[in-house]
Symmetry: C2
Subunit: 216 residues, 2 copies
DNA sequence: ACCTGAACACCGTTCAAGT
DNA sequence: ACCTGAACACCGTTCAAGT
């Protein structure tokens, strides 16, 4: 029953979130070139100068989008890994004691979720890894660290299964991160189809695990 | 002794090349956001409408830049691989009959050249793998194929050394391409230093070859 | 075939002013 | 603290006209 709190300033305190949500949609549907501050302001029903109260310039808005993207992507691969880890207990029982899914399945699930994100949010992922003239901002670098931390945690769990040596987790995390990002780049740039990307993820995990455990 | 052929239209038939060269420099020094058709025209000493005779719009210029980038990158990794292949004969003689360098060194050299390109031409590589709303143009897709073909040729040569099975060359080429592109993305986006990227290339080739030959 | 120059619509950014 | 609205400089694109 609460009426409209006031009338004019339709957005009060949440214009920032409204702009970011709308920007994400534009990014997804029409790409980064179609993203304009003035159009976002128009869509939100505010004047063209209003966004300035929340983003110093267009680059700041893009940075905020990239930041949110990293947080979302980190969450999604963590979720996928957790799900795959739990699935093991519900399997056919042939894989052992039913404690958890095997390490390969977990890595595959995480990598697969990453590449799926790339397919559905191509322009956003592109933005997240875009080459900036002066390097990434601190905020974006920090958010990117969260994605890397998620990869590291997933990899560390795999080391416990004995698939590779704990001492190598740092370097192997970086390598797997690069590989998954590379597969994603082939997807976002339209170089391979999503079907091909799924097969490529399988190959990547297979070769990665075989190579990582080769030193035993 | 040949005088200036005429006077006014300073560029005759090569304005296109002049624009592309200048655009590459701007890309390298100030990034893609600083790239404007009007500024390029000004720098070339022509009117702002002149570029239109060679590029239908800004996107067409960017496509042409990406195209040239793919051709250059393909050449560079071919050259690096050829050099590493030849180096083997000049080695310490311990590696065998002196016919050619070992497969790992060739792959490492090619991957290293790729990542070096990424470090020196960050904005260009970014453009080459950028997510376009309607997918890549045919011309760009064709140029990208040339890069992939270079990778495939290098990989095929490695198969002859018995490092991996010939039947797997197609899939392994795709995987190595993705991995190298991923490492490059970490470089262009400022996520890792060039020192880290060199170590990562080493790890990537080591794990890749160990994993690829694991099935024997 | 290639280039000029005017015209138009749109944009990012700044800033004094309002509430 | 947040938003308005005018102002400015710059841009991409179009197009009739020149050579």
């Amino acid at each position: 029953m609460v009426p409209m709190p006031d009338d004019r300033p339709f957005h009060h305190g949440n214009l920032r979130a409204v702009l970011l949500d709308q920007a994400e949609t534009v990014l997804r549907e029409r790409g980064i070139d179609a993203l304009s501050l003035r159009e976002l302001a128009r869509a939100a029903g505010v004047s063209h100068g209003a966004p300035r109260s929340h983003f110093i310039d267009r680059a700041a808005l893009l940075d905020a989008l990239a930041e949110r993207g990293f947080v979302r992507l980190a969450d999604e691969i963590r979720g996928a890994a957790a799900r795959a880890s739990g699935d093991g207990a519900a399997g056919d029982g042939a894989s052992g004691d039913g404690v958890s899914g095997d390490g390969a399945a977990v890595l595959r699930a995480a990598a697969s979720a990453y590449v799926r994100f790339a397919a559905h949010e191509s322009a956003l992922l592109d933005l997240m890894f875009s080459a900036k003239a002066d390097g990434p901002s601190e905020a974006v670098a920090g958010a990117a660290e969260r994605l890397f931390a998620a990869m590291a945690d997933i990899m560390a769990a795999g080391a416990e299964t004995g698939a590779y040596d704990t001492r190598d987790v740092g370097r192997l995390t970086l390598l797997l991160s690069a590989t998954v990002q590379g597969i994603s780049a082939l997807v976002t740039s339209g170089r391979i189809t999503t079907d091909q990307s799924e097969a490529l993820v399988d190959d990547a995990i297979t070769v990665f695990l075989a190579g990582a455990s080769a030193g035993r």
